[in-house]
């Protein structure tokens, strides 16, 4: 390989590297610096944060919400993607357009709609009271359930879009062969389709997890103080309490949380993929 051809991939990556360095690494370095005090060097912001009663429950809720929303989004998206895959081209394009529709509207507009649906006079409460499940309407917003619904709804289109092509890549002859060898449709699905789509499930789940660990708008609009996520905490500390060092320290903790969760996810995914591979074999 010549020096020129060896440099070519680096040249291709240069715009992205520059963008990352200017828009992520440099601001991140500044955030880390502010976390140690705006003028002098001190660990007071971290000490305050870790000695307080807020950080741990907020971090735990952030991780729990992200995990639940990711699992729900992928579980809902998988059969949707399978159904979309089985459609002929025109209905398929229409179905995917419907899935993406929510993403064409501003997130605030979408969540305002969710608020109306979950509101005291909304259809969910109307159905619950009409069927006698509850005596009087529930406050479904300002609750973990409301935030989970909102976040799952926001993640769903991405999961569907990532999973839909996964089914296209499976050779239809494989399922037919399994059926020909006596497998029931369910057995064929679990032994052939599911293991072969597992890598795409991992990709979809990874994206959903990273996205939902930074959940901000959903918890702000549909959650209360008990549904505070790390992103909301950073906003409250920085913009409302004017405590930029503590906001910066919380941002660093948030980054560490995301890194830990993604790391744990990668380990779990590797185990799942290995198990999927063994099942295929």
């Amino acid at each position: 390989m010549t020096t020129r051809s060896a440099l070519f991939p680096w040249l291709l990556a240069t715009p992205a590297v520059v963008l990352l360095a200017v828009m992520f690494v440099a601001p991140l370095a500044l955030v880390v610096r502010v976390g140690f005090g705006e003028s002098e060097w001190t660990i007071r912001a971290y000490a305050d944060l870790f000695s307080g009663k807020l950080l741990l429950p907020v971090a735990a809720f952030t991780v729990a919400l992200a995990s639940a929303a990711t699992i729900l989004a992928v579980l809902i998206a998988y059969p949707v993607a399978l159904a979309v895959h089985r459609l002929s081209p025109t209905p398929r394009a229409l179905a995917l357009a419907v899935v993406v529709l929510a993403k064409l509207a501003n997130v605030f507009v979408v969540l305002y709609g969710v608020q109306l649906v979950l509101g005291r006079h909304g259809p969910v409460n109307a159905a619950l009271t009409a069927t006698g499940v509850v005596a009087e309407p529930l406050l479904l917003t300002q609750s973990a359930a409301g935030v989970l619904v909102a976040e799952t709804y926001l993640l769903l289109p991405y999961a569907v879009l990532l999973l839909a092509p996964a089914f296209d890549r499976i050779d239809p002859a494989l399922t037919a062969a399994a059926r020909g060898l006596g497998a029931t449709p369910w057995v064929a699905f679990f032994r052939v389709t599911l293991p072969l789509t597992l890598p795409d499930v991992v990709v979809a789940a990874r994206l959903c997890l990273i996205w939902s660990l930074g959940a901000f708008v959903g918890p702000m609009m549909l959650g209360g103080p008990d549904e505070m996520t790390l992103s909301v905490l950073v906003q409250r500390l920085g913009l409302e309490a004017n405590d930029y060092p503590r906001a910066a320290a919380a941002s660093v903790v948030m980054l560490a949380t995301v890194a830990t969760c993604v790391g744990a996810f990668e380990v779990a995914a590797r185990i799942a993929l290995k198990a999927g591979g063994a099942a295929r074999a």
Binding site: P57, R120, H121, P137, T141, M221, P225, D226, E240, N242
Partner: protein
């Protein structure tokens, strides 16, 4: 050439521009003092339209300066801190006391030459009886009062009239309070003193018995079913029937009452009324401080004050307040508009809060706002 126009010249030009506009001419006024310069103004999102229409146009016509209005909430201070030296993100900022005082302390704002503010004479001195104005860092005014918002559909025959009424068993778990302590801790103090049979002493309770107020807040927090993060969100929840009663900014409520009179109820108890203190401040290193001072003078002038009041906000201009009070009884019941009422005006107890701002924030966030 000096960039500072004389007061007489500026007022003359303002008058000429108004005359030109009145005659329907479109010819630009000659020798406009700030021609070719741009004034970037930060205002709260809810008020941006009013400032665009009521201030930007006339000020541009009179002075030649281009006015850029940037609407936001709490982001102004962060943007100023991140601005390069000598080129602040804004030349003029409308902020509230919770943001303004720490920023003044951090040296983000410069002193204002009050002698250039000819319209200052029209303001009631009581609105300027605070540290920001005394030190000439900000021109302050009572923009919004804390009032009781309630859902008329759920209030029945006995809507809440005072802060003590929020202790009624029917409201337990159905109250909504702002999630920021500067307002809701005071609301809880007002509820406490009313429950103790001493309505009207909430300021004293916060200033002299903060521990007692915090204990009350910890004990009674379960009465609050919803903590609202912003005025528009509070209004959405009120219209959606998500709470029965709670505290609210009058500036949000007064508009809503007019638009949804069947749903939105408002009570503005005289006892323990507290006002949000907003202030016009000028960033320390702006090169357009002279334009900003001229802008503040226009903003505290009678016409602009009338426009603000008619939009539901509180104002500092005595004559303008009297005019709007005569037009709108609900506005009159909420905001000061007579010398006696201006004399009685009390802002939220910011100075008591600032004695331990970080500590209060921590207790509020950890022990009152969250159930766990």
């Amino acid at each position: 050439m000096s960039q500072h126009p004389s007061r007489r010249r500026f007022l003359g030009l303002l008058g000429s521009a108004a005359l030109a506009a009145g005659c329907g001419t479109n010819s630009p006024a000659r020798n406009r003092p700030f021609e070719g310069r741009t004034l970037t103004v930060f205002v709260y999102s809810g008020l941006d339209e009013m400032f665009r229409e009521g201030f930007a146009g006339p000020f541009e016509a009179a002075t030649g300066a281009a006015v850029e209005i940037d609407a936001g909430w709490w982001d102004a201070i962060g943007k100023l801190k991140a601005s390069p030296k000598g080129r602040p993100a804004y030349d003029l900022v409308l902020t509230d006391a919770t943001q303004g005082y720490p920023a003044i302390k951090d040296g983000l704002f410069r002193q204002i030459d009050f002698k250039k503010l000819t319209n200052l004479a029209g303001l009631h001195p009581g609105v300027l009886d605070n540290q920001a104005a005394k030190d000439r860092y900000g021109v302050t005014f009572p923009e919004s009062a804390q009032v009781i918002a309630f859902d008329k559909r759920r209030a029945g025959d006995s809507p809440p009239a005072g802060w003590g009424d929020l202790m009624r068993p029917a409201y337990s778990g159905r109250l909504a309070l702002y999630n920021h302590f500067y307002m809701s801790l005071f609301a809880l103090a007002a509820v406490k003193v009313a429950a103790d049979g001493r309505p009207g002493t909430a300021h004293a309770a916060v200033e002299n018995d903060l521990a007692g107020v915090l204990d009350f807040a910890r004990r009674e927090r379960k009465r609050v079913g919803l903590w609202w993060p912003s005025g528009p969100k509070m209004l959405q929840d009120l219209l959606a029937g998500n709470f029965a009663a709670g505290n609210a900014h009058s500036v949000t409520l007064l508009q809503a009452v007019a638009e949804k009179p069947d749903v939105v109820g408002v009570a503005a108890p005289e006892a323990d009324r507290a006002f949000v203190q907003l202030m016009w401040v000028i960033p320390a290193d702006t090169p357009n401080a002279d334009v900003a001072e001229a802008a503040i003078d226009a903003l505290i002038g009678k016409d602009m004050q009338l426009a603000m009041a008619r939009r539901g906000a509180g104002i500092a201009h005595v004559e303008a307040a009297a005019v709007v009070a005569a037009e709108n009884p609900l506005w009159a019941a909420t905001y000061p508009h007579t010398p006696a009422r201006f004399d009685a005006l009390r802002y939220f107890p910011y100075e008591a809060y600032f004695k331990d701002w970080a500590g209060l924030n921590k207790v509020w966030d950890e022990e009152i706002l969250r159930a766990s």
